[in-house]
Structures are given as structure tokens and as C-alpha cells.
């Protein structure tokens, strides 16, 4: 990793003054916007189009068997996991700041020590990301037990695919940040490595922002 930042054949000089990786990650995020736009649009187009239940916000009784299904989505539980994911962005900001400010004098007192620990904040980001994934695993399992699988109806297909894609992005982010944490533990991330943390952070914030859209459109708006 020590020299992995030398990504270009002609060093140092770039036309915009930005690092190549940073330019590339912004374009990647642009591309990801179209990816999630397609997923979210499909979910919204198929909203209310399922010919059989269960449904997200309404109870449903199977006319053939008489079995009753409650509304599937549990907004309070998901609100908690949403809050955790949003807080992870704060930890991410602190982790990046800690790496960028390494080598500068640490502010006095305990809070200064805590704020300057990139390991702590990288770990907290990972932990909160993993917590979110845990909530999602719980949510998926309980939905399946309640009778909604990816094959059941259009709601099941589009819901599990949309949130599953988001979950996969969070998983990739946790692995990415976990890798940075491992490097930090091994040799300590320095300000010159900050762009590695920076692009991971941009990705992480993007994944958070997408979740705000998903949570609003899928869970909150009935």
C-alpha cells in the first residue's frame, strides 16, 4: 500500500489539481445515481401493482386460504437502523479528519485524544454499517417468516432487489473501510494516504444519502 497512491504515470501534475482517484470516484457516484434511480423507479412503478399480497402498508387476507397477513413494513424498527446508518456518516467525517490532521498537535484533554483517533472512528463507522446490515438481515428474515419472499409478488421482487442492492453496497463499504482500518492498525494512515480515506468516505456518504431516498419513498410514503 505504501506506494499505491502513485496511480499515474506522470505524477503530481493534474489539470484540475484534484487527485485522479477523486475525479474517478465522483464519476462512479454519478453512475451509481443512475443505478439506484432505475431501481427506485421500478419499485415506484410497481407500487400497488401486485396481484397478490402481502403488501407493504396494508393488511391482506388470502381469499383462497383465508390466511391473514399484516402490513409488512415495520417503520419504527427501520427508523432505528436508519438513524444508526446516518450517524455512521458522522463517524466517517471524523475518521477522515483524524487522518488528514495526523502529525498536527493534538488538542489537549480526552476529547482531543478521542477526536484524533482515526482507528476509533473507522471502527465506529464499520460497526454502525454492520449494525445496519444486522437490522436488514433481521428485517429480511422476519418478512420471509411473515410470508413475503422475493418470488411472492411484484412488491417482494422489487422491495428485496432494491434494498438488497443497497445492502450489498453497504457490505462493500464495510469491507472497504475495514481494509483501511486494518492498514491503519498495521502502519498508521498518514495525511498522504488521506485521499484513500477520502474516496471511501465519499462512497460511504453516497450510500447513506441513497438510503434516505429509499427510506422516504419505500417506508414513509404510503
Amino acid at each position: 500500500m505504501a506506494h499505491a497512491e502513485t496511480q499515474t504515470a506522470s505524477h503530481h501534475f493534474t489539470t484540475t489539481g484534484l487527485d485522479n482517484r477523486k475525479v474517478a470516484i465522483w464519476m462512479f457516484i454519478g453512475s451509481e445515481c443512475m443505478l439506484f434511480a432505475s431501481l427506485i423507479s421500478t419499485y415506484l412503478i410497481y407500487k400497488g401493482k401486485s396481484v397478490v399480497g402481502p403488501f407493504p402498508h396494508e393488511a391482506w387476507t388470502n381469499p383462497a386460504t383465508g390466511q391473514a397477513f399484516p402490513p409488512i413494513l415495520d417503520i419504527p424498527v427501520t427508523s432505528v437502523s436508519t438513524f444508526v446508518l446516518l450517524m455512521s456518516s458522522l463517524a466517517m467525517v471524523l475518521a477522515l479528519a483524524a487522518v488528514e490532521n495526523r502529525g498536527k498537535p493534538v488538542p489537549p484533554g480526552l476529547s482531543g485524544k478521542i477526536l484524533s483517533s482515526s482507528k476509533l472512528w473507522l471502527f465506529m463507522t464499520c460497526l454502525m454499517g454492520a449494525t445496519f446490515l444486522g437490522f436488514q438481515a433481521y428485517e429480511f428474515t422476519s418478512f420471509v417468516h411473515e410470508g413475503l419472499t422475493i418470488r411472492t409478488n411484484l412488491f417482494g421482487s422489487s422491495f428485496f432487489t432494491l434494498t438488497g442492492f443497497h445492502g450489498a453496497h453497504v457490505t462493500a463499504g464495510v469491507i472497504w473501510l475495514g481494509t483501511l482500518l486494518a492498514i491503519d492498525m498495521k502502519r498508521g494512515l498518514q495525511p498522504k494516504d488521506a485521499v484513500w480515506v477520502d474516496i471511501a468516505a465519499l462512497y460511504w456518504h453516497f450510500v447513506d444519502v441513497v438510503w434516505i431516498a429509499i427510506f422516504t419513498l419505500v417506508y414513509l410514503i404510503q
Binding site: M1, A2, H3, A4, T6, Q7, T8, A9, S10, H11, H12, F13, T14, T15, T16, G17, L18, N20, V23, A24, M27, F28, G30, S31, E32, M34, L35, S38, L39, T42, I45, Y46, K49, S50, V51, V52, I150, R151, N153, L154, G156, S157, S158, T161, F165, T179
Partner: protein, 652 residues
């Protein structure tokens, strides 16, 4: 940083590999371009043979040369091959070879990612092509409309190869697009502001944005189809309430920008060729650039003109009809700019120039037939007939392929240091030009007489016989034309006339360095003062209307830091515009070059194994499929980590 005076000492690359390993491990954009070029020419032969078999079948009524099932595979694979495995990669060959040379860079922004893109393309291409040898190739049309391509109506493995293969190819295109867009944004030589970029780089830049924004949409559409076929979801299952138009919308939101992804690089190439052989700067350069951007924007707003016949209602039909007519304006602007570039020029009719002029003429015919189905009522008469086939071959063959041939003849001397034979080139051009028109012009009439697309045979007595007979002979004539090209291409590599640095007296940066270019491209990065920097040196009389300035120099010198000493004298790494003919090794010049590596190839192979596991699962061999998934995932993750943790260059 601003006062660093000493040039760093580099220890350049260890052992350079030779022979086949050199190609498997290369990260040099020029060699990767060469790989793209040859692989795409191979697939061109494959797609061409498919076309010739189809034309053999359609030459006479009620022919039985191939069955309906085989015919379905042939037209599906012909379209898929020509779009994804020929024209896009031929463009990618030029992106690779030309973009860094045109903007004065030593490589692309991410050389190893570039190698990765190529290997994913190769594996994806083989994945989707090889099944045709086992009579199991995709057979649902290149746009794979659901529900026909769903599990219920296409239960075989055929469409699995399509949906997975296009997914693999999408990874390649996206990775390359991030790479080239970053390269163009961030690695231009000092002084090369956007309005000084060569037009090919401009059009490529637009194309990268189209790929970045359009490919994710097809990725999702493909995932839905994949999930439907492999995991039993309901995205395209009408019985579950699914919208039968969802796939069509998602596909064409990608598919129409894709049309411009195919044509804009060729527009860029002829915008280099025409000024060179007209010995005049490109007429209205800024307008050509802006119209390219406008085409890119409008290209996202016209997709539903592919769907007029599905019954979207008068409002949607009207809106998409109008936007489609609008997009003709920037395209027409380009045509006039090219004509005015030639106007009053001292034209040399080289092979490249002939192909470029052919693009202008043939693309105009295709454009005009395109306008004729921008109007929904008119389109309803034409849709799904051979008139449409004629139209899109005039824009894709008459446009994209003609432009790419112009580019190959024009850039061959830079690529290999020798010229292609002009006499053979001329024969190739005329034979190809006549064969092309003989093939596709009669299709307009066959279509107007009602001959539908994609039929594997037809009855006599409907007035279609003569037109089909002519089209088939045209197609058969294309084969010798292409063989002459291939012979010329391979022979000229070793026996062509030695070209020198700038055989065509061209004006852009790539012609200021030796042919073929040394691995580092530029010994000293040139500082650019105008749009045609070489003509500033050699033909100042052509440059009187071209804006010049030293804009960006001071800023560039300051920002590079290393190149500026305390006294303000810049280091030899950046120099005023000059011609380099001396050839030294990167080591002698102290230029750090990325090390060759095989890891991107293995990461790509991991992706191939991962995707290959799904047809195995579909065949019911679940255990084997899971084993393949595990192996593929381990290869992918393992080699990716190995790649990312290996420095690209030796320590310095």
C-alpha cells in the same frame, strides 16, 4: 513543493517480460489499444460470417439453408456482436491508443484498470459467442424484449448467455469509461484547455459520459432479467401484474444513448481526418464540440421513439417525436461543418479521406431515413420492416464503420510506423462502398413493400425477390472487400512504406512524436498554445483564424511545482511545443513507467468464473455452481487485493 529543484532519481521497472507474457501483462495504453483492435477485428469476422449466412438464406424465397431456430440465433448474435463486440471495442481501441497521445499524457489515469477492461471485454465476448458453436446462442434479438426472453417463453440456456454476457461486457465498458473520462479531465498537457482538445478526444469525452450514465440502467434491467430467470422473481412476468413495457423502457433508456456511443467516436475520427487532408483547420470547431455535447444530452430524451408502435398514447408519442426531430439539428450541424472544412481546402484523396467523405454521405442518407420515422404515423408504417434495417445500417455501417476505417488508415502509420498500401486501400474502399450500397439500399424498398425484419424466409410473389437478391450479392461482395483490408493491414505492419513521425502533415500532438510512439509517449510534455499545435510550427499560414494564447502555462508551471525552480526556470519534463524524433528508453530519460502485471487478467477471470456458475446452476448442477461461485469469488477478491496492495511503479 514550489521550490523543489532536484529531479528525483527513479529506478525504473524491473524485468520487462517478452513474447506472449508481454501481451498478457501489459498496462501500456498503446498495447491495450492494439489488443482491442485485433480482438474486435476477429469478432468483426464472426459477425460478418453470421450476416453472410443470413443473406444466403434470404437470397431466394422459401430457402431452407438454415432453420428458423438457427436464423434467430444468427440475427441475435449478428446484432449483439456488431454493437458490443465490434464497434464499441474498435472505438475503445482508438480511445486507448489516441486519447493519451492527443492530450499529451504518458498513459491513462489508471493503467491497470485499463488492462482489466480489456480482459473483461475479451472474456465477455467469448462467453457470449462460443455458445453458437453448440447451437445454444442467444436467440431473442439484440434487444431481448420481455416477456419473450423470460423463462416461460425462452426456457433454454440461450438467453442466459446473453443476459450474463452483456452484464460482463458492461463491467468492461464502465471501468474503461471512468478511466478515460478521468484521463481527459485530469491529464491534459499544460495549456490544453477544453477548447484546444482534438475533436476525437472531445467526442470520446462525450461518449464516456454517455457510458457512465446509460450503462447502469441496462445493468439494472439485466439484473431484473437475471433474477427472473435464475431466482424466480416477477419483474417481467405479466401474470404477476408486471408491466410488459418495463424492459423496453429501461433497455432503450440505455439503448438510445448507446447509438451515440457507437457513432460519436467515428464522428471524432473524421473530424481529425478531414482537416488533415483538406489542409485546413476544422470549420467551426466550437460548434462541432457543442453539438456533440447537445447530441449527448438529447440522446437521453428520445428513447421511446423505438416504441411508437406499443401504444404509449398521443402525448408521449408527440413528445418523443419532437425530441427526435430536434436531435437532427446538432447532427446536421456537424455534417455542414465537415463539408465547410473541405470547402476551399487543398484536398488529398487518400484512402482515409475517401472513407471520411463516405461517412458524410452515407450517414446523411441514414439520418434522413431516420427523420422519416421520427414522426409516429410514418414510423408505424416502417417499424419492424426492412426499412428500419436499411436505416440503422446506413448510420452504423455507413457512419460508424466507415469512420473507423478512415481512422485505421489514418492512424496506422502512427500505430505501426508504416503506412498501409494506398492502392489496396483504394480498392478496398470502392469495393466496400459499392457492396455496402448494394446490400442496404434495396432494403429501403423491400421494407416499404412490407417485408418484416427477423423473418427467416418468405413466400415468392410479394415483390421482394429482386431486392433480396441484390442485398445478398452486396453482402457477398463485402467479404472480398474485407479480406483485402485484412491482407493490407497485416502485410503493411512489416512491409508497408516507412512512415516517419508525421506522414500526413497533421496538426495534433500525437504527430509530434516518433512512430510508433515510445512507451512513455512524450519525452517532454509539450506546452500547448493552440488547437493545432503542430501547424503552429509547420504551417503558421493555416492558423491565422485560430485563437492562440499562453493561457494556463503559468498556472500549470506553478501547480506542477516540481517543474519550477526557485528562479522560475522550468525543468526539462515540460517544454514549449516541439517535435520529438529522438528515441530513448524511459530509463535513460528517468521517466517512471507502470510495471506490467497479470493481476487484472486474473481478476477478470474471477468475474468470468462467477458469471459462468449461473448457467451451471440453471442446468440443475447446484453443487458445481456453488463451487464455481466460491472459486470465482476467491479469485476476484484475492487478486483484487493483490492488485491494490502492489505499487504500480517501483519505489523511487
Amino acid at each position: 513543493m514550489a521550490t523543489v529543484a532536484a529531479s528525483p532519481t527513479y529506478t525504473t521497472a524491473g524485468a520487462r517480460r517478452t513474447g506472449i507474457m508481454d501481451w498478457l501483462t501489459t498496462v501500456d495504453h498503446k498495447k491495450i489499444g492494439t489488443l482491442y483492435l485485433h480482438t474486435a477485428l476477429f469478432f468483426f469476422v464472426v459477425g460478418g460470417v453470421e450476416a453472410i449466412i443470413m443473406r444466403w438464406q434470404l437470397m431466394r424465397p422459401n430457402s431452407t439453408a438454415v432453420s428458423a431456430e438457427v436464423f434467430n440465433q444468427l440475427f441475435t448474435m449478428h446484432g449483439t456482436t456488431m454493437v458490443f463486440l465490434v464497434i464499441m471495442p474498435l472505438s475503445a481501441a482508438f480511445f486507448n491508443f489516441l486519447i493519451p497521445l492527443q492530450i499529451g499524457a504518458r498513459d491513462v489515469a489508471f493503467p491497470r484498470l485499463n488492462a482489466f477492461s480489456y480482459w473483461v471485454y475479451l472474456f465477455g465476448g467469448l462467453f457470449i459467442t462460443i455458445p453458437i458453436l453448440f447451437n445454444a446462442a442467444p436467440d431473442g434479438g439484440w434487444f431481448a424484449y420481455t416477456p419473450l426472453t423470460g423463462k416461460a417463453y425462452s426456457p433454454g440456456q440461450n438467453m442466459n448467455f446473453w443476459v450474463l454476457g452483456i452484464q460482463i461486457l458492461g463491467i468492461s465498458s464502465l471501468a474503461a469509461a471512468f478511466n478515460f473520462a478521468t484521463t481527459i479531465i485530469n491529464m491534459r498537457a499544460p495549456g490544453m484547455n477544453l477548447m484546444r482538445m482534438p475533436m476525437f478526444t472531445w467526442m470520446s469525452f462525450v461518449v464516456q459520459w454517455l457510458i457512465i450514465l446509460a450503462f447502469p440502467v441496462i445493468t439494472i434491467a439485466l439484473f431484473f432479467m437475471q433474477f427472473d430467470r435464475f431466482f424466480g422473481t416477477n419483474f417481467y412476468v405479466s401474470a404477476a401484474g408486471a408491466d410488459p413495457l418495463l424492459w423496453q423502457h429501461l433497455f432503450w433508456i440505455f439503448g438510445h444513448p448507446e447509438v451515440y456511443i457507437l457513432i460519436l467516436p467515428a464522428f471524432g475520427l473524421v473530424s481529425e481526418v478531414l482537416p488533415t487532408y483538406s489542409r485546413k483547420p476544422l470549420f467551426g470547431y466550437p460548434v462541432v464540440a457543442y453539438s456533440g455535447i447537445l447530441i449527448g444530452f438529447l440522446g437521453f430524451g428520445v428513447w421511446a421513439h423505438h416504441m411508437f408502435s406499443v401504444g404509449m398514447g398521443p402525448i408521449a408519442d408527440t413528445v418523443f417525436g419532437v425530441t427526435t426531430m430536434l436531435i437532427a439539428i446538432p447532427t446536421g450541424v456537424k455534417i455542414f461543418n465537415w463539408i465547410f472544412t473541405m470547402w476551399g481546402g487543398a484536398i488529398r484523396f487518400t484512402t482515409a479521406m475517401k472513407f471520411a467523405i463516405a461517412l458524410i454521405a452515407m450517414f446523411t442518407i441514414g439520418g434522413i431515413s431516420g427523420i422519416s420515422h421520427a414522426s409516429p404515423p410514418s414510423d408505424l408504417q416502417q417499424t419492424d420492416t426492412y426499412y428500419i434495417v436499411a436505416h440503422f445500417h446506413y448510420v452504423l455501417y455507413g457512419g460508424a464503420i466507415m469512420g473507423i476505417f478512415a481512422g485505421i488508415y489514418h492512424y496506422f502509420p502512427k500505430w505501426y510506423g508504416r503506412k498501409m498500401d494506398e492502392r489496396l486501400g483504394s480498392i478496398h474502399f470502392w469495393l466496400n462502398f459499392i457492396a455496402f450500397n448494394l446490400t442496404f439500399f434495396p432494403m429501403h424498398y423491400a421494407g416499404m413493400l412490407g417485408m418484416p425484419r427477423r423473418i427467416y424466409t418468405y413466400d415468392a410473389g410479394q415483390g421482394w425477390e429482386t431486392f433480396n437478391f441484390l442485398s445478398s450479392w452486396g453482402a457477398f461482395l463485402m467479404a472480398p472487400a474485407f479480406l483485402i483490408f485484412i491482407w493490407n493491414f497485416f502485410r503493411s505492419k512489416t512491409r508497408g512504406e516507412v512512415a516517419g513521425d508525421n506522414p500526413w502533415d497533421a496538426a495534433t500532438l500525437e504527430w509530434s512524436i516518433p512512430s510508433p510512439p515510445p512507451e512513455y509517449n512524450f519525452a517532454q510534455i509539450p506546452m500547448v498554445t493552440s488547437r493545432y499545435p503542430l501547424w503552429d510550427l509547420t504551417h503558421p499560414e493555416r492558423m491565422k483564424d485560430i485563437p492562440h494564447s499562453m493561457d494556463g502555462w503559468d498556472e500549470a508551471k506553478l501547480r506542477t511545482g516540481e517543474h519550477v525552480t526557485a528562479t522560475g526556470v522550468h525543468e526539462p519534463d515540460v517544454a514549449p511545443m516541439h517535435i520529438e524524433s529522438e528515441r530513448k528508453s524511459a530509463k535513460e530519460l528517468g521517466i517512471p513507467m507502470p510495471n506490467p502485471t497479470i493481476k487484472p487478467l486474473w481478476v477478470a477471470a474471477g468475474i468470468l468464473v462467477l458469471f459462468s456458475s449461473l448457467p451451471v446452476m440453471y442446468a440443475g448442477k447446484t453443487l458445481a455452481a456453488f463451487a464455481m461461485m466460491a472459486v470465482g469469488a476467491v479469485m476476484f477478491v484475492g487478486f483484487l487485493y493483490a492488485w491494490l496492495t502492489t505499487p504500480m511503479e517501483d519505489a523511487h
